[in-house]
């Protein structure tokens, strides 16, 4: 009797949860889907860190094997230009491409002065946190200079290793909840759940407010929730979608990336280094950024 009661409750709970899980299995489709690589060209050759060459455009021969179940592991290449910004909401000045700012969100946006994009200021006048050497944080790591990304998977967690800055983060998949009284962290706290055999839905909270959502300077508050859908399409292909929810800054959640495609590189592909060292940055500012911004230099 007791067992059947417990089983019944479990069934009811699963039925109640089913619509929620189902709705989260797929990332919400944006109102407008823009070309992934409009306005860009691809060099034909990609070099790895060992100076081995690979074709930039990987041509699939035959039908790829199905995606393995609950397995994102591999070295994933978004190509030379993809992932440079929030592609669903590019910073191009077109009103339809702007996130749904609240008045506070718009006010905060206008306090941020990016060094690129539609609102670009002179390089010496930017207050982009990256210029101070601050980490990108989330979700900007997905939205700016996203390059070859390695994913290493363990039973209890997924490690994501980014090229830019040699940054890594942990996504816990052991069923834990977010900690209480989260101390803000540059990359927040991430937990992931398999919402299908091939899709890991990741939520990130507790991101330090000093980070920007993206290169355009879009703001976020302490209560921002970032959702990422890592969907392995087949053996050789992965897609990443990103949604930002922050009621203080945005009137509704908005999609920043939608099914950004990645190709699987071979296991011996050596990921190149991309580090913005302060000493290099200082030299660049001295000789280029400050002089073109009328700030002396040299």
């Amino acid at each position: 009797m007791r067992m059947s009661c417990v089983a019944g409750i479990a069934v009811i709970l699963s039925l109640l949860a089913a619509p929620l899980l189902h709705s989260q299995a797929e990332p919400p489709a944006p109102e407008q889907i823009l070309p992934q690589d409009a306005g860009s060209e691809h060099p034909p050759i990609t070099y790895d860190g060992w100076h081995k060459t690979y074709p930039t455009e990987i041509k699939q021969e035959g039908k790829p094997s199905p995606a393995p179940r609950h397995d994102l592991g591999g070295t994933w290449d978004p190509g030379p230009t993809n992932g440079i910004q929030a592609r669903v909401k590019p910073d191009d000045g077109i009103p339809a491409h702007q996130p749904p700012y609240t008045p506070l969100g718009l006010e905060m946006l206008n306090q941020n002065h990016p060094s690129g994009g539609f609102r670009s200021v002179l390089p010496g006048d930017t207050n982009d946190p990256l210029e101070k050497g601050n980490p990108q944080g989330m979700p900007r790591e997905d939205l700016y200079e996203l390059r070859v990304t390695q994913i290493v998977q363990y039973p209890e967690k997924v490690l994501v290793l980014y090229t830019n800055g040699r940054v890594w983060r942990v996504i816990w998949t052991d069923g834990r909840d977010f900690p209480k009284d989260m101390e803000p962290r540059w990359y927040g706290y991430s937990i992931g759940k398999w919402v299908s055999d091939t899709t890991l839905l990741v939520e990130t909270r507790g991101v330090d407010e000093r980070t920007w959502v993206d290169r355009a300077g879009r703001p976020h508050g302490a209560d921002m929730v970032v959702r990422e859908w890592f969907h392995r399409v087949d053996q050789n292909h992965l897609e990443l979608s990103v949604q930002v929810e922050d009621p203080k800054m945005y009137t509704k959640p908005w999609v920043a990336l939608y099914k950004l495609p990645f190709d699987l590189r071979p296991p011996d592909f050596d990921v190149r280094e991309m580090i913005f060292a302060p000493s290099d940055f200082n030299e660049y500012n001295k000789y280029v950024a400050d002089p073109v911004s009328n700030k002396g230099g040299k």
């Binding site: 440079i84 990016p114 060094s115 690129g116 390089p123 940055f281 073109v292």
Partner: protein
């Protein structure tokens, strides 16, 4: 100094209405993207580092004065895929560069391409753009982002500095 720079721009500039070279890290707000300047000179330094690689070049203007030009391209990771390396330039190399000049008249610009003394050409332009507007058109209607669409300068055709 300003007059010399103006003279260089007047004599040495091959002005062309072109598409906008863009940098992955910084935008091009500081540069006059409607212009291309050709500079022929001698390399003094090649900085192969982030956020952008920087080429230092000494060019002589029509008055015999040496002008220290600086040109930037994208980061090493991106430039490697375009055929550039940390050894692409050495001090003393003679090179002709075409670049988008700074708005404020400083002898600094975004390099579109570089041609070595032996004629070898390194292309730097436009594998990355800031804007993703699919309807964006270059000013003159030509797609200058494509390497074949630009006015290819050869070392012996480059305007004298």
């Amino acid at each position: 100094m300003t007059r010399k720079l103006l003279a260089i721009l007047a004599l040495g500039a091959a002005v062309a209405m072109v598409g906008t070279p863009a940098l992955a890290h910084h935008g091009q707000a500081a540069y006059d993207t409607s212009k291309i300047v050709t500079v022929k000179g001698v390399v003094t330094r090649w900085l192969w580092s982030n956020p952008h690689c920087v080429l230092f070049l000494d060019a002589t203007d029509e008055n015999g004065q040496v002008v220290h030009w600086i040109g930037e391209v994208q980061n090493p990771l991106s430039m490697t895929n375009m055929g550039w390396t940390g050894d692409s330039f050495k001090p003393g190399d003679h090179v002709t560069i075409r670049l988008t000049p700074a708005k404020n008249g400083a002898p600094i610009g975004l390099i579109a391409d570089a041609i070595m003394a032996n004629g070898h050409k390194l292309d730097a332009r436009n594998f990355v753009r800031d804007a993703v507007d699919p309807d964006a058109k270059p000013i003159d209607g030509k797609d200058a982002s494509k390497p074949d669409a630009k006015t290819d300068a050869k070392p012996d055709e480059a305007p004298k500095q």
